[in-house]
């Protein structure tokens, strides 16, 4: 067990000041390794965080933070009393859940499937093809979907009509908006998402499969008992990070999909804050909404990390 040695070391070291000093001295090179990255985070991430306080102000650019008037929780109040607040909250959560349920498993399954391919050539070709869409912008993905699904001569509806199914208004019927969003997300990101899992699979000892086959394990059992456990910790780390981004969807993607017929189901915090804050130059309000989103994300990360640790996983911190 990998924790044993470390645990022993901790147990052996009595918790006294001198023991602490000795530990720090012994780990001095580790601290040195951490230092450049730590400085990066402090300078480029933590130093600018004073910018968050403008969410408690009526910030006027140029006057700066010190001279802008303080307004307490006014910006947050405005958010929570907005008649659209709960609708947006519900939509944001719905898209998030759809993402977790329908998107998350796809790259994992795809990576495992690719791993089961014996022909290196076939494997490489498929692997390369599926990761290309990541490089197409949302604008392109959405416009290709439009061209295919439009009632004005789109291939899909032409086919439906040809086979006598009648036409389906994919673009203007709000019932199709979310499925379309998820399908586009899967199409663009799933292949790219396999890369981390493939890297995790690459470090599995082939001897394990050999042994399993000796025991007469079929392909599914090999996957279940060898491949999956080996990538479990990576899956969990990625899942926690994904849960942290509960309130962040790809703004560009949703913004391109939203229209007057589906706003009821597609309006999320990112699109809301764009029209209500960014476009109108309302820095304080924009920051306050961001603050709120981050807060929810943090709470969920802490919760899921705690759960992961309870189940014996390392978690993300």
């Amino acid at each position: 067990m990998k924790t044993v040695t470390a645990a022993n070391r901790i147990a052996q070291a009595p918790r006294t000041r001198s023991a602490w000093k000795r530990r720090v001295v012994r780990n001095r090179y580790m601290y040195l390794m951490i230092l450049p990255g730590l400085i990066y985070f402090l300078v480029f991430k933590y130093l600018p965080m004073w910018g968050l306080i403008i969410s408690f102000q009526d910030y006027v650019p140029f006057q700066g933070i010190l001279h802008s008037p303080w307004v307490g929780f006014k910006q947050f109040n405005r958010l929570f009393t907005d008649p659209d607040f709960w609708g947006i909250f519900r939509n944001t959560l719905s898209l998030f859940l759809l993402n977790i349920v329908f998107y998350t498993p796809v790259p994992i399954v795809l990576a495992i499937m690719l791993n089961e391919v014996a022909h290196p050539f076939f494997k490489r070709i498929v692997q390369t093809i599926v990761y290309i869409p990541h490089f197409l912008s949302w604008v392109i993905v959405v416009s290709i979907s439009f061209v295919m699904l439009t009632l004005d001569g789109g291939i899909v509806n032409e086919m439906l009509r040809y086979f006598g199914f009648g036409e389906i208004n994919f673009l203007l019927d709000s019932a199709y908006s979310r499925p379309l969003y998820i399908l586009q997300t899967i199409w663009r990101e799933a292949g790219w998402g396999t890369i981390v899992y493939l890297a995790a699979i690459a470090s599995i000892d082939p001897g394990l499969y050999e042994a399993a086959r000796m025991d007469g394990a079929g392909r599914f059992r090999q996957i279940w008992h060898i491949t999956f456990p080996a990538i479990r910790s990576v899956v969990i780390v990625l899942l926690i990070l994904r849960i942290g981004s509960v309130m962040d969807h790809s703004f560009e993607h949703v913004f391109l999909l939203i229209n007057s017929m589906n706003r009821q189901v597609m309006d999320i915090f990112d699109t809301y804050v764009f029209t209500a804050g960014v476009q109108q130059g309302q820095y304080s309000y924009t920051t306050a909404v961001g603050f709120f989103k981050s807060f929810i994300g943090l709470a969920l990360v802490m919760l899921s990390n705690w759960l992961a640790r309870r189940f014996g996983e390392e978690g993300v911190y």
Partner: protein
């Protein structure tokens, strides 16, 4: 795995191959459309919603994009920041990720939390701009690299991979008299080529695609990376600016947009095949045992 072929295993393979083939096809057709449209004539693109093989091949769109003299200069800039940026980022990230694997390191949990925290909370664009400005990085290529040198996401993944390495490696390295640095560079990194390849790819793609830093921090158009220039061509091509009162520039054709996508993507795609060998199953285990 090739050796034993039970009926179940063969059935599994058939399904697996067919399914992957289907996936590849679904992904491939739209990509094909994008690539082929860039070689089609404007008229054909207007007429046909989906082009898989253009009736007449033409390089007009590419000629249009490449006649923008700044493209080659911008390509150099992008290649430069991608290479230097990835090197700087990998160096910093792998050092930090390894440093944080030591379990008895005091403050480790706090630092880990601080890192995750930055993924959720950010001070925003303007305070970051001020920091970059105060450091004197405005209009310098470093402004495209240093403010984004470490990605918390990549760091967390890398650390998690390092922690998954077989136990005892560190112990035996220590017994062999390796210092912490020696362990990292001589043992841990060579054993982690898959994740090194992955994270390098993530960084390279990030630096290659980044354009917002350039918009904010670079004032001198001579120093624009490729993405800024290409986005500018695409925006002009989609006539987005034409809805305002400033519609005096005649947008170039849709085919140009597709050519831009191809030009922007192909160089970074070329990196992938070189990394692929690190994703082969069991590629690393041999080196562990050897």
């Amino acid at each position: 795995m090739v050796k034993d072929k039970t009926a179940g295993s063969r059935l599994f393979d058939i399904f697996n191959y067919l399914l992957l083939l289907l996936v590849a096809l679904v992904v491939f057709l739209p990509i094909m459309h994008v690539v082929m449209s860039s070689f089609a004539t404007v008229e054909e693109m207007a007429r046909k919603p989906f082009i898989l093989i253009p009736e007449t091949f033409t390089l007009v769109a590419y000629r249009y994009v490449l006649s923008t003299g700044a493209v080659f200069k911008a390509l150099g800039v992008s290649a430069g920041i991608t290479i230097v940026g990835t090197a700087v980022s990998m160096f910093t990230t792998s050092l930090m990720a390894y440093g944080l694997t030591r379990r008895d390191l005091d403050g480790r949990k706090v630092i880990n939390f601080l890192i995750v925290f930055t993924m959720l909370f950010s001070g925003g664009l303007i305070p970051t701009f001020l920091v970059v400005k105060e450091l004197g990085l405005i209009n310098s290529y470093w402004a495209l690299i240093i403010p984004n040198a470490v990605s918390a996401f990549n760091l967390v993944i890398m650390r998690s991979f390092f922690m998954n390495l077989p136990d005892g490696i560190e112990e035996s390295a220590r017994i062999d008299g390796c210092s912490d640095f020696g362990t990292l560079f001589r043992i841990v990194l060579p054993l982690s080529m898959a994740v090194i390849a992955t994270i390098s790819l993530f960084y390279a793609v990030y630096f290659w695609n980044s354009y917002q830093s350039a918009i904010l921090y670079i004032n001198d158009a001579e120093k624009w990376p490729l993405q800024v220039l290409l986005r500018q061509i695409v925006l002009v091509a989609s006539g987005i600016s034409a809805d305002t009162a400033n519609d005096f520039v005649q947008p170039p054709e849709q085919t140009v947009k597709m050519a831009v996508i191809v030009i922007a993507t192909v160089p970074i795609l070329l990196v992938y095949p070189f990394l692929q060998k690190y994703f082969a199953k069991g590629a690393l285990v041999g080196s562990v045992k050897g």
